[in-house]
């Protein structure tokens, strides 16, 4: 049985959300809401009400970056200062904490920000080959529902999209 990808384009969020709600109520057997991807020109705040809560993990990488930054900062500076004993310190501490805190603070932010960025690239699925079912209208003013289904679910899904006044339905065979 071949796998298909279907995309329905809707004029607004209300119609798209109604379609997803129907999928959620398992009106199409064999199709789960977890298979649904919503494409939209803006982020809709109430999206989780219909799609269910989908977790975001970027902040964990941010925390890792921050902890790494501050730790690396301390050891980098202290290491550099400790090998600097040949120079007279004039009675000052070899590893001066107050001034090191300033630089550790900067390194905390530096690494946290870069880790956040890379985590974002990785977790949001950017830099991947673009799906051929992409429509430019999604970046303009339409809302798209993308769903991977088996061949036998194809027609019911299309009917569901039509019932919810889909402006356009596209499909492709995945394998």
């Amino acid at each position: 049985m071949s796998k298909h990808c279907v995309m329905g384009l809707f004029s607004d969020f209300d119609e798209a959300f109604a379609a997803i709600s129907d999928i959620r109520k398992t009106k199409v057997p064999g199709v789960s809401v977890d298979d649904v991807t919503l494409k939209s020109p803006i982020e809709h705040p109430e999206i989780e009400e219909v799609l269910g809560e989908r977790p975001v993990h970027v902040q964990k990488f941010t925390l890792f970056g921050a902890i790494f930054g501050v730790t690396f900062g301390f050891f980098f500076l202290a290491g550099a200062q400790a090998t600097f004993l040949v120079q007279p310190q004039g009675g000052k501490a070899v590893v001066p904490l107050p001034s090191n805190f300033v630089l550790m603070y900067e390194m905390l932010i530096f690494f946290a920000v870069w880790c956040t960025f890379f985590a974002y690239l990785f977790l949001s699925g950017l830099l991947r080959k673009r799906h051929t079912l992409y429509s430019e209208k999604v970046s303009l003013d339409q809302v798209g529902i993308l769903i991977d289904v088996d061949e036998d679910c194809l027609e019911p899904i299309k009917d569901l999209f039509k019932r919810h006044k889909a402006l356009e339905i596209r499909e492709e065979v995945l394998r």
């Binding site: 939209s40 999206i47 550099a80 300033v102 603070y105 900067e106 390194m107 949001s124």
Partner: protein, 472 residues
Amino acid sequence: MYNEKDINEQIAWAKINADVLRSMENPRKGYWLAVLICVLMLICAAFAEYIQYTTGMGPANLNNPHMWGMYISTFVFWIGMSHSGTLLSAILHIIHADWRKPIYRFAEAMTTFSLMTAGLFPIIHLGRVWNMYWVLPYVSDRGHWPNFRSPLVWDAFAISTYLSASMLFLFIGMIPDLAICRDNAKGWRKKLYTVLSLGWMGTDRQWRNFRKTYLLMACFLIPLAVSVHSIVSADFAMSIMPGWHVTTFPPYFVAGALYSGCAAIITLFVLLRYFFRFEEYMTTPIMEKTCKLTFAIAMVWTYLNLVEFCSVWYGHDIYNKEVLIAKATGPYAWVFWIMIFCGSVVPFTLAVQKLRRHMPTMFVVSLLLNLSMFFERWMIVAPTLSMSHDPHQWDIMYASVVQWAIVFGSFGWFGLLFLVFVKIFPSVSMYEVKEMVFHRRRHLVNEEAAARFHRRKDDSQTTTGEPGLEGA
């Protein structure tokens, strides 16, 4: 009283895309004139730098005791200017002030380009520009590290962190718009936007991660911006020079930075609105809100000035007091009084609604405010160096033509970077304006529904004396 909306909520999403994309193709002639002026200014600076590079620091008129001249005050000025993006984008994003949405993109770009301009000045100031890498934290061939206790090294860390963070913040915020550009562009632009949009498709997963990432970046950018200007103030405050060793310097610098950043936003607001015909997005009510914010910051800056004057006056440190008196009555007094007038008196025009709504007036006022901020930095550097502890070192110095030309050219450099940016990338955030319009329209619909409901309820009460079915 004017009762206008920040933006017309009936504006169609397709029109937003069309207007912003058109702006990148078809600006007014004034845009090209501005580009030409910036190029000429940059040529002036390049010529002056060539003289300085080949001759040495003599032509710049930098000599003991004035080892820090206008280069360093301009460096502080540009660092200050960079705080605009942080304020308008990060702080207002966190407090959900959605009126920032049509104007935050160019403020973020300003942040990045101001930092790139600021970063040039310590290098130019060195004279031996080929030794600029000495400030980087690396171990030299003699096993020496830079002095990590020095605020000048802190500067290098802070500015490079701020530059990279603000560039990432600008870039991340632009990705959905770059995808819109990719979907509509042709030729080299399409190739550029395809690479930069990183395959954005507007999926719910991408939006969820985008929001969280943007919020996290904003949260980091605010303390970072405060730390950057505090560290720049530490360049002065950590020394024991009269007029510099002041406890209030970090907040004073941060307030001044936000002030000049806001003033620059007003300047560029007026210019972009004209160049790209953005009257529907950069509206008068948004200008009014920006002006009110600038006025509030101007008053904070004025207060911190007074605090500094009073603490020096009542502190009875003779050297500090002499420098303060010299600022107001000495050879630099004209600079000082222009600074006070433009920084503390001129902002009252921002409190007058009629003036706030007049774009040409606000353009001139914003330039005056930034003139004040430029002189403020000059007033920090020059008087202290001309009257330090040793009277035999007292000297008056005015910047030479070479210094002025390089400073002048830095505005051309900044302007050119900015103008090229707004021509290639969308200067109004399309997806954020769509969100703004969407939420406001929805709010309006809800309000109308509620009003209709209450009207029916009242009608049914007056006719039957009992609550109607809808009310029940």
